[in-house]
Amino acid sequence: MKINKKLFLALYYQMLRIRMVEEKICQLYPEQEMRCPVHICIGQEGIAAGVCANLKQDDYVLSNHRSHGHFLAKGGNLKAMLAELYGKASGCSKGKGGSMHLVDLNVNFLGSTPIVAGMIPVAVGVAFGSALKKEKKVTVVFFGDAATEEGVFSESLNFAALKKLPIVFVCENNRYSVYSPLSARQPKERDNLMIAKGYGIYAQRGDGNDAASVYQITKKAVRFARNRKGPAFLQFDTYRYREHCGHSFDHELNYRSKREFNYWLKKCPLGNFEKKLIKRGVVDKKEIFLIRAKVQQEINMAVEFAKKSPFPEKKEVLTDIYA
């Protein structure tokens, strides 16, 4: 692939920033002040970065429980996200949602929710509404491999294909649903690409740990959808390094083999990308050091903002019920 320095730097920066935010959350979570479930996306940053680099600020994104990376890559406000994790009034959902309910309307990140597959039809509806309004926008919805098992996944693909909606379905296949491997949930012959194609939907598979390839694959899909040729379905293989929910590693549970884990660790989307950039002379160690320092400073300020922000007042319990 031809090296586009600006693009590669942008992808690197995005992945690095997501990684560093997630690591900061992991470091702070044991303080017991972020009192909500967190689903860390370390290991899966390549998909968030590669997909969102193709989107304009007013394109729509919706996501699931593991949404920190999607939110950040779409340009969501970091301070508001961290404040939300701390349950603060300055959080993006005023503390009513927590980590599993992020939103930033400034960049059309329309929300994330933790009911598996619950966002897929909603995203189809966003694309439907957007198409009816004759907008030129694309909608992207992120979900995991488990979400494709829910009936609503198929129902949504059907409608999106029927109406040729401008939506890109992005399945992040990290092989596990909590501790349940794919083999406990899906026949090994199953192929989501064939399913999507069965509905007449454009479908591609890719290596989720290679942000540049995610970018290229998504580029075609987004163009396809934006030109109103119909929906696209993308599936990226990847791996989550931390436990399903929470800040730790979970090797002691033995539901994933050490070998498998190490195999994926060697495929680290951030580390490998960094090495590649250095090798090809896109950045050097000193520049990386400076980028890191800048990101670290931004994160520290956001954490300080979140920690110092006031909690929502008692009366907030009773607000926002009806519009």
Binding site: P114, Y179, V317
Partner: protein, 356 residues
Amino acid sequence: MPNNRMREITYKQAILEATSQCLAKDRMVYVIGLGVTDPKGIFGTTLGLKEKYGSRVMDMPVAENAMTGVAIGSSLVGMRPILTHQRVDFTVLSLDQIINNAAKWHYMFGGKMKVPLVIRMIIGMGWGQGPQHSQNLSSLLASIPGLKVVMPATAYDAKGLLISAVEDDNPVIFIEHRWLHGTYGYVPKKMYKEPIGKSKIMKRGRDVTIISSSYMVLESLRAAELLKKEGIEAEVMDLRSIKPLDEESIIKSVRKTHRLIAVDGGWMNFGVASEVIALAAEKGCGLLKNNPQRITFPDTPIPTSHALAKHYYPRAVDICNSVRTMFNLPGIPEKPSVIKGGIGFDVPDKTFKGPF
């Protein structure tokens, strides 16, 4: 009371033991649900069952609606499934199968077939579980004819009611509470049944009847404890079954105390507490000395922030204050605030460190 055939075990161990004994007794029983065979075993309630009972204990695809239909279908040909969900909220996806099929199958085919299905659901609370991970939809389910709904508060009842549910020939919704899993109680080793549709008096009293279920029974007992210091003797009743309701015992107790507080860890409108009070009003419990009161969640979705959870969840103090008002006593001051490093109102005790 405790004798040599009983020992103290936790609520979750009681559920595990009941399940194991049901699997051992009847080869038609099987257990299915997300994570049933994983290393955490549904908060410990299914640990080791796979090793003991093999293919009758299984994980499943993330497809609640279809899998509920599958469980129903298998029960039509004689199986007795126990379907589990880690949160009540996830069963919402399967309401079609529960309400349209399971609840009505026996009736709509003229009593020719039965659906002996148990669906376990767990209510989350605190630690930022928020709007989609801590709902208690018991009253919604209890309003559907054809379903039975039980909500044990103690380890003893968890075991006895689960065995009854499995042996019942109807769909039974078995609702647990995350904050009860770690509580201890005396539980016999042998297999025993507690009747569905029967409440239990947890503490006798003559001055006021406090009726609750599931986790709120513990808060009610704490309230009764506080009230005792003022010389007020509260009678605390654990409904155990939401559907059918134990009408007789409710009426009997209220006729004795002439004061009624209905406590429910769910929403007020069209809820369990409303049902209890409607029943008391309709069946005539004699003149009540005070207007009956409902203590429930406010009529809003459940907030995530622990600062809001503190104001959201009713606790013993609120029950106590409601009773004190009836007796013209001043209220106990507000709950202490959530202090940095303190236990807070979003965890059952100090041992709970999140995240789920």
